[in-house]
Amino acid sequence: MRIAISALVGVLLAAVASFGAVQLASASQKDPVIKPLYNYGSR
């Protein structure tokens, strides 16, 4: 059980670390304004 809890905590810690990195990277970005306006998407 301790191993399992450790794994769970590990997943959470990894995700939190990842989140922090991503937040830092995206902090300076503005909202995406995707053009052309009415497309479903682009390849």
Binding site: I3, A4, S6, A7, L8, G10, V11, L12, A14, A15, A17, S18, F19, A21, V22, Q23, A25, S26, Q29, D31, P32, V33, I34, K35, L37, Y38, N39, Y40, G41, S42, R43
Partner: protein, 570 residues
């Protein structure tokens, strides 16, 4: 038996909690009050049960029955909470279902499978594309595989219907993916009764969308010209096939997670996937369980279908030419879902072997690898999934339209299916107004990808298309077509609609929506699908679902699928 039962009871909470944790991390800012609107993901406050919800209005029933499910859930929960419950359920189910297939009493290997299945490029790209209904079916796919393996056993039919229920809610795409998987697994056991039960279960659960789809006036649409638009594409350095193997490769380049596809993390992820596939292959070779080979076969078939549009587009175009229903294979990447099951279970098997060899770090690494290698899925996919409120103008427009007892439909302008509204942080989304209003809305349901446009399918949109594109005055023609309201929900980019709607009365002019009313609109009816047939389809499906739960004392301590597959394969 007691040991098996104990194993199960102690086995499911941690995968469930892990799935919940992963879901919370993924949604992040999307958990705030409000709606997460991204591409095809549209939830609205107070959704209604309208004829459109059930595909009776003659439109293609792509949203059946998932919209009805969302509306049903919103009768007991606020609409935005219902959305979050559905999205979190995807992660919880995915983690639990994949973990349940790993033949190990150890929790870490099972968590490795669960985490891998719930956190990978497939989930990320389909979530960003807003395909929550497909993901519902994806989440339960490991359960479907296990249930299909036992379909011919006593109670197997019931277990199969229960396992297919999330896919049935998801609709045609989710059920097609699950159907391929279930048929491959059942066929591998070479028992006709099992295959027959799978076919029957799929047929009965498909009725809510199959009946309106087949009975609509325009039949089943299929634009063969759009094959290349929706074909899988490379989002890693390993080409299209390599990207599909890594569970990515979505057609839409805008829905690839931030920073995904660089050479370093893709290379490591490729190594993880190859190890997982190798472990799965060894497991198949060393055990005598045909369903494992069936699942591998489903993954191979799914991979071939996923690649078809990219490597042999003329073949798929030819098939669609023969029967338009083959258009369901156009969006290829979604058929990589069975491969995701194999990769996840294989990773769990590999982690179990590492645990047996007392390589604890390797086992823990297998659990963490999917998250570490795809960090940008965290926190709303790096901030892309955020909760927003619908503008006040929309609520005012709804009050006006719903208070009006005069007949007539609503026409939606600008004449396009998708929007990138500022109130949604510029994120692209299928226009929510047809779901937001309880009155029939005619919108241009043609979709454009780069320079390719898939033709509109709503018969009334098709009829109005030339008029609206002509630039001519609209009011008189719309009155004859039974249009009571015209909603312009992107006024800043809508151009000179006012000139074309001379004679229509502006009943609401807001920053986010302008609403015109056309008095004296003719009473024009949709070419409806027979309501009795659709009602009959729902009744038959409902009876099958109720039957599947009868006689099974479903508790959290009872295996959802009956026998635990672990005991069968060890």
């Amino acid at each position: 038996m007691a040991a098996g039962g104990r194993t199960w009871r102690t086995g499911w909470p941690l995968p469930a909690l892990t799935g919940l944790g992963l879901g919370l991390l993924v949604l992040g800012p999307g958990l705030a009050p409000g709606f997460v609107l991204s591409y095809d993901m549209v939830f609205v406050p107070d959704p209604g049960f309208t004829p459109w919800t059930f595909g009776v209005t003659g439109t293609v029933p792509r949203h059946v029955p998932s919209d009805a499910f969302a509306a049903a859930l919103a009768t007991v929960l606020p609409g935005d909470v219902a959305q979050k419950v559905v999205l979190l359920a995807v992660f919880v189910m995915a983690c639990m279902a994949a973990a349940s297939l790993v033949p190990s009493p150890r929790i870490l290997p099972r968590l490795a499978a669960g985490v891998c299945y719930a956190w990978n490029p497939f989930v990320a790209e389909r979530l960003l594309l807003g395909q929550w209904a497909l993901l519902l079916g994806y989440a339960a796919l490991p359960w479907v595989a296990a249930a299909a393996a036992d379909a011919d056993a006593r109670g197997g039919g019931r277990r199969l219907v229960r396992a297919l229920l999330p896919a049935a809610i998801g609709g045609f795409a989710a059920l097609t993916v699950s159907g391929i998987t279930a048929l491959a697994v059942a066929a591998a056991r070479r028992r006709g009764a099992g295959v027959l039960r799978v076919v029957l279960a799929l047929a009965v659960l498909s009725l809510p969308w199959l009946v309106p789809g087949l009975l609509r006036a325009g039949g089943v649409p299929g634009d063969g010209g759009a094959v290349e638009a929706f074909a899988a594409r490379a989002d890693t350095p390993f080409g299209t096939l390599g990207s599909l193997l890594l569970l990515g490769g979505v057609w839409n380049g805008e829905t690839v997670p931030a920073a995904y596809g660089n050479a370093v993390t893709s290379g490591v992820w490729l190594a993880v996937v190859l190890v997982a596939l190798f472990a799965y292959g060894r497991w198949c070779a060393n055990t005598d369980a045909p369903w494992q080979r069936g699942l591998a076969g489903a993954a191979a078939v799914g991979f071939a279908v996923a690649a078809l549009g990219a490597v042999a587009a003329p073949v798929l175009e030819g098939l669609i030419g023969l029967w338009s229903g083959f258009a369901v294979f156009r969006d290829g990447q979604q058929y990589a879902a069975p491969l995701a099951v194999v990769v996840a279970v294989g990773l769990g098997v590999a982690a179990d072997r590492a645990a047996q060899a007392r390589l604890g770090a390797v086992t823990a690494g297998a659990v963490l690898a999917p998250v570490v290698l795809l960090p940008s899925l965290a926190w709303g996919a790096a901030g892309q999934l955020r909760a927003v409120d619908y503008p006040d103008d929309w609520a005012r427009a709804r009050d006006i339209v719903h208070a009006d007892e005069q007949p007539g439909v609503v026409l939606l302008l600008p004449w396009a299916a998708y929007r990138s509204p500022q109130w949604n942080h510029g994120r692209r989304v299928l226009d929510p107004l047809p779901r937001y209003l309880h009155r029939r809305v005619i919108a241009n349901d043609a979709v454009t990808v780069d320079g390719t446009t898939v033709a509109a399918e709503d018969p009334r949109a098709v009829r109005l298309d030339p008029l609206i594109r002509s630039g001519a005055a609209l009011t008189e023609a719309l009155r004859r077509e039974g249009v009571r309201y015209v909603a312009v929900d992107d006024p800043a980019n809508a151009g000179s609609q006012a000139r074309r709607l001379a004679g229509a009365k502006v009943v609401l002019r807001g920053r986010d929506l302008v609403l015109y009313r056309i008095d004296g609109a003719a009473d024009v009816r949709d070419e409806r699908v027979p309501t009795a047939a659709v009602a009959g389809a729902w009744i038959v499906t409902g009876i099958a679902i109720v039957w599947s739960w009868l006689g099974s004392a479903i508790t959290l301590g009872t295996p959802l699928l009956g026998r635990n597959p672990r005991r069968r394969v060890d």
